[in-house]
Symmetry: C2
Subunit: 417 residues, 2 copies
């Protein structure tokens, strides 16, 4: 058994050693620590091996790790060694996962890119803020990785890198030991090459075996899903190829029995992206108060601007973001109508050039504000042949249903290729 685990991690190591000098997905690696974990797992009684037994997982470098330094994507914390694991990391270890290493995050999971490149095209960004996690999974360096999302930091990099990224309902996975950017928005997200992988990983993190239910033979949506394309003002900014990819996927779903409707988001939901932006700025200014006070000179200009902007926003404007969110959540049925899930482009377009930043989070802001579970599947390509994503969201706490729909779609898209 120990040999099997060693083979998996050895393959990861080979790939990393072959590719990471160019992809630069990893911030911290320690093969001795990996060896120690393998030895520990080999000694586990059969009954305690756990659902991730022997599976290597990459950890975004905003999650504290007791055995690896944790830099939060900032030079301020270069070499910082936490004394405890984040709760999510602890759950992975209980489940038998191997913590393979720490993956590159943008600065405090905000804007400023780390060195990571898109493994599909090294001139492109992998997206942010979970840059390293998405790139490492996409490049086959690790089968699973965890990240986070405050605006679009799971959906966007997963889409740019052509893999599956899943952000469960806000609050489902512990944030303890995760560097905060905006406590009311921060959500743990997961990356894998397929829906099954994201279900497995999120099920472990949330302590919900049912999220793995679609892995079981025969587990599907009982009938084809009801789907809605609810166009928000953000859609107008999306590239034609991104819109077309979603429409083609919707058509395909309709051909296979799904009920698909298309209309505009209700007026009350149309401005949510701006509310998300306001909430994030206000909360970043307070969550990062220590760095603001003690290390302002070591922050990037975009982050300084965010903190300055956040401090200038009135209490009334901040309270409005809560009010609007609560109102919309109370009225969530008017957004979904009869639909089980909403469809939208995951990003405005394929991955931008590396020099142009980590891409625009606009297509996920509203759903993140509402805390909806959302997932991105690879779906079509842009003008340069890079992947686009199909973003699917369900009502809060319908994570299981969302994963089932995503698995259904995944098969459909594969068979149509």
């Amino acid at each position: 058994m120990s040999e099997d685990i060693k083979k998996i991690t050895a393959r990861c190591r080979e790939r990393i050693e072959a590719r990471d000098s160019e992809v630069l997905a990893w911030k911290a690696l320690d093969w001795d620590f990996v060896e120690r974990q393998i030895d520990e797992l080999a000694a586990r009684p059969m009954g305690e091996r756990g659902p991730l037994f022997g599976l290597p997982v990459g950890i975004k470098d905003i999650f504290d790790t007791a055995d690896l330094p944790t830099g939060y994507g900032s030079a301020i914390y270069e070499g910082h060694q936490p004394s405890a694991d984040a709760a999510a990391v602890a759950r992975l270890r209980v489940a038998g996962a191997i913590i393979l290493g720490k993956t590159v995050s943008t600065e405090f999971a905000y804007w400023k890119a780390g060195p990571t490149r898109n493994p599909l095209n090294l001139e492109r960004t992998p997206g942010g803020s979970s840059s390293g996690s998405a790139a490492a999974v996409a490049d086959g360096m690790v089968p699973l990785a965890i990240g986070s999302q405050t605006a679009a930091s799971t959906i966007r990099p997963a889409a740019y890198c052509g893999i599956v990224g899943f952000k469960p309902t806000r609050g489902l996975i512990s944030l303890a030991g995760v560097k905060a950017l905006s406590n009311s928005l921060d959500t743990v997200g997961v990356f894998a090459k397929d829906v099954a992988g994201t279900g497995l990983l999120s099920g472990v993190l949330a302590g919900r075996p049912n999220l793995m239910a679609h892995l079981m033979p025969g587990a599907e949506t009982g009938s084809p899903p009801r789907l809605a394309l609810k166009k928000s003002p953000e859609w107008e900014k999306a590239a034609p190829s991104a819109i077309n990819a979603v429409k083609k996927a919707a058509d395909l779903a309709a051909q296979h029995g799904a009920a698909v409707t298309t209309d505009e988001v209700p007026p009350g939901f149309a401005g949510l992206a701006d509310f998300q932006t306001t909430m994030m700025a206000c909360e970043a200014a307070r969550e990062l108060a220590h760095e603001h006070r003690c290390h302002f000179d070591a922050l990037s200009q975009p982050l300084r601007d965010l903190l300055t902007e956040g401090e200038s926003i009135s209490a009334a404007a901040y309270d409005d973001t809560w009010r609007r969110r609560d109102e919309c959540l109370g009225d969530i049925d008017s957004l979904f109508g009869d639909a089980d899930a909403l469809l939208a482009p995951s990003t405005l377009d394929e991955a931008p050039m590396f020099e142009d930043g980590t891409g625009d989070p606009i297509m996920s802001r509203a759903w993140t504000l509402l805390g909806l579970p959302s997932i991105t599947l690879p779906c079509g390509t842009g003008e340069n042949g890079l992947p686009l994503g199909l973003q699917i969201a369900a009502r809060p706490h319908q994570d299981e249903k969302l994963l089932a729909i995503a698995a259904w779609f995944e098969q459909l898209l594969a068979s149509a290729r």
Copy 2:
């Protein structure tokens, strides 16, 4: 100016040295660090002195401090030295406060008491989990202190110690760098001897100068408030003296022009205390996953039981707590009716004997679940002459109004004494 600050901190030090061998409110004190802060403040230009300039503040030992060890109330973290201040601590320092020291918390802000005694009667508990903060303020060791509340950890100790405790709307003050017990419930709270002190302190922490508005001359509620006693099932457990104290306060308010109504909470709100208990157990089990994995033997039996219980609760039951909370928040007007604020006993009774634990949080569970801003004022005494509290709550984000009503009540209760 530096001499004035020195006088204030010297008085704190005298009181601590005279009394803390019995009260045991402080977990960490470092007078050299206090001196360094005084020197730093003395060098500040006049325009940067801040609203708490020179005021000493006690910090519950679940808030990270870069200059003082932070033990989270557990032997596991004895001597642990964080590398950064919690965001709330950073904001205090920007505002010119002096971090006087760390105050005793129960184990991870849950159940197991630290050594702290009630300064009004050393045989009694000061309440928990913010035991040291409440006791230190009540005993005159420090004018202001910060704590937290997940069930009743601000309201209860403040009431038992005969001071003012204020828990703002959930989410208003950053939790970054605060050890998590239950992320969906944890809220920073503040302690002072009067309402003005809690407004000042919370205003700084939340970055909301308006919370200090009632400190301005002439700032009052425009007209006497509309108040409601909404009896929940919890009231049946309260001692007659606790109920009577609230009724007498309500009568007094009515005599001074307040509109006061009395009835039952609406049925949908009647079982919220149990939902709070479920949510807290589930989330504690995940927030403390690292301690569960690595240090289970070092946890107290009540905490082990909580984690075990939390892990056994179904996903459906946990999701229900969110659903119920969201439904109630959407229907909050049916709880408040015409009232600006609700009145209730702060605790079931006066402080229990030290050996009997930190007291029952039941009177605050429902309002904490809803994230309502709430405050306790000293109001009457129990059979043993120890203080009781008047608990007042307002709608979410009506913190200013709540403080104004509390200040109005404070004057009324003082004049009636």
